[in-house]
Amino acid sequence: MTTETLAYALREQPADTETGALTERVRFGAVAFQFAVLVACIRGLDIGNVALGHVSTLALAGFVVHHLLPLRFRLPLFVMLSLAGIATVFGLRDGAMLVGVGLVLIGICHLPCAYAIRVGLLLAAGGLLAVLRVDWLAAPVSVAVWPILGSMFMFRLINYMYDLKHRTAPFSLGRALAYFFMLPNVCFVLFPVVDYKTMWTTYHNDNRIGIYQVGLRWMLRGIIQLVLYRVLYHYLLIEPASIRDAGDVFRFMVTTYLLYLRVSGDFHLIIGLMHLFGFNLSESHHMYLLSSSFNDFWRRINIYWKDFLLKVFYRPTYFRLKHLGTGRAMVFATVFSFVVTWLLHSYQWFWLRGQFPITGQDAVFWTILCILVAVNSLYEARYGRRRSLAKQTRSFRAGVGIALRTIGTFVVICTLWSVWTYDSFSGWFAVMAQARHVSLADAGLILGSLVVIGVSGAVLGHSTSERTEAGAASISGRPPLRFWRSAITVTCVGAAMYALSRHEVHKRLPTHTAGVVQRLTRNTLNVLDEIKLTRGYYEDLTGVTHANFELWSLLAKQQDVHQPIYHTALARRTGDFFGSELIASSRDVYKGATVTINHWGMRDRDYTRAKPPGTYRIMLVGASTAMGWGVGLEETFENLVEDRLNADPPDPGFTSYEILNLSVPSYFALQKLRLAEERAFQFEPDALYIVMTTHDVGMVNYHLYTVVKNDIEIPYEPVRDILRRAGASKHMTDQEFWRRVEPHVPELIGFAYRRLADVCRSHEVDPVMLLIPFLKSKPKPGAPALDVLARENGLDVFDLSDVFQGVPEDSLLIDPWDRHPNPQGHRMIAERLEEHVRSHIRSDRSGPRSGGKTP
């Protein structure tokens, strides 16, 4: 078969011989119905993102028209749908910019000059785009465009130029547009490296109903994998700081690896969707968990990437070096390919996030995997592997061999994966050290799991592994399609999953089950990522790696999401127990709101230090939400309450009411205590409200690690004593520190409350704990109840933790990527708080006081 004889010329493939035109129409109806069910699933289960919901609906409408059109019009329609998808997601302006940049790049590929000059021009264009990507020059596009532009061109352009050089496929503007702007790409930053030549050799190369049905099956498989990923993400993932024994270590390693389901699920969805438009591409992943060797793993996981490397880097290197002998050339080509893979991962990270990370973990992961694959390749070259023209029968002994190899490969890959995705080597070793605590139950769990992997590998893995090497062209390797069986499966499973996404179904389930189902059918962060995201508000976030898809995809949309406030004119780092402070009389725009700091260093209106006669004064000591993060000064809940109290005074004994806001972002329980002690009482308050949010529990631990690590003196002996008892020290990794201190967090918060209550009462000030929720965040399982702790330690409690109940939390966020409440959220807090404050003033006060120390 040569290029000339390849079936590039578009022609309709005949229907199956057993089916007539009528059956074909019925089958098309069944396909369209299944596609509608899957689109409903995608929307109902909140799969991917909002963009995918819109684009899949567009694809569904386009699919019907596409099918009915004559063949020659189908490609132009696909291109138009792809461009419409871009406009839908980005809007006309940004969409036009994206397409415009793409057209320039495609145009350079086809300039009438030497190939080397075109490559040089592309590199220059890439350099210019890189300058814009890192903001050295202002780019006239939204930051959200960059990751998608990157995912469309960063690898496919290389592939395209390779095929252009060898003229191994036909080229036209329509084909180029379809290739680079592929309809689903606008919804996914991680996208399979589809091969240009394969895309066109497989386009409508079989009966199209069959192609559609395979695509639908893969889309369903993708959706199932993404739901399984949510199960893993919300219920099975373990926080490193909570790892205590060998069972936990095993769970940590396995779940870290299994998070990859997110990528394989997305890729199945993408390739499946492409099938609905006649692109008969092969699957992107193939039972990679059951790989029985390192070469096998490399061939099964992200097959498109492997094919890309093989075509553009491995084979050309091998052919240049083959005079050295097959073995040597193979080893050098393998090493070169892995070095390229490592660099291309950082290159990908650059286009998606604007950074070019080179980490030790990357080096270790790719080096070890490279050695394993190279050795495996040499072994295969020398001894070969068992192949057969007919279906293989296998002895029990051979099955056991495969099972053992599958287990070995799984364990090694899990280990490598956990190193690769961990923040630091020392942290990883600290986690692994917990494996020394082994119980009988742990051993049973580990052995049982490995046996399941081994048996699955022996039964399922080997039977199809020989086909995977064919990669993007393995059409003939596919088992024959049983249309109706497949259609019924897709319809039933898809419909059941869609039903589970419906509120009407949730209402009929027991409360706990409904809660679980709701979580699995919504795209939300888990508790661990909530904490990481929260940390991201306060520091330069470095823990979000390529392995953390949820946070990563969230942050990819908005670069300044984790810009700490001390990077603005409003605050500075102090290097002491507080960490940072607001700068008096400063002004800046932060998180979309103009923020002014008064001359007392409060984000608030101006007040006199001495309380005016007849005034009831409240001091508010909180963190970012209480400060009014992302909302205007007059929109903060404390100023709203203050205005309402003054408009309708609850107690005729007071002529005015003031709420002074001492809150500072990233202040947690102990910092709030210190702040109250040092600054609150000079303002002669009648009451002091310490504002706590539901995520404060975990952050106490985080704050103490920062303090201890930086040799900052802790001003409270009881806290120092707790750390001593916990065995926590500055020489530990953060995870180890947190693991040791976590059991003592209730004691730490209890101390802060008790001391605050004591110091308030000594100043004749009413101590109150105001509990407000942190949006889209659930308390960590087993976390102490803040309200109970507060009451036990002498604080009154205003519990507003359910203030947002009944309102979609997404509608209360200041941004989709920022969990602080918007003005509406502040109004809701203000309404409830006002009731508490009025009631509190009426019940506790009989008349005006001068406040503070003065009776």
Binding site: M1, T2, K197, R315, K322, A381, G384, R387, T468, A470
Partner: protein, 89 residues
């Protein structure tokens, strides 16, 4: 080069594939149209071994982009490639 006058190119290729990758298999089961790459009989390592064999056996030079499914998927494809290379010499 093998004795091409007595043995056809297809037979030489077929013998090699049977000997190296399918030992013990029925010779008749491997036809000129049997898919080799897309069914996984030839993986990337085996394909490179085959390339080395073809270059040495038929004194031809293959390019990197020719070591793929388009040119090497069946014995018929391989023979066609060899003949084209030999004609171009």
């Amino acid at each position: 080069m093998s004795d091409a006058s007595n043995t056809s190119t297809a037979d030489v290729v077929k013998d090699y594939i049977l000997r190296e990758f399918l030992p013990g298999e029925d010779r008749d089961a491997l036809t000129d149209a049997t898919a080799l790459i897309t069914t996984g009989i030839l993986d990337s390592v085996a394909t490179l071994k085959l390339v080395s064999f073809l270059e040495e056996e038929f004194t031809i030079t293959l390019e990197a982009h020719e070591a793929d499914v388009e040119f090497l998927n069946t014995i018929a494809d391989i023979v066609q490639l060899i003949e084209r290379k030999q004609r171009a010499k």
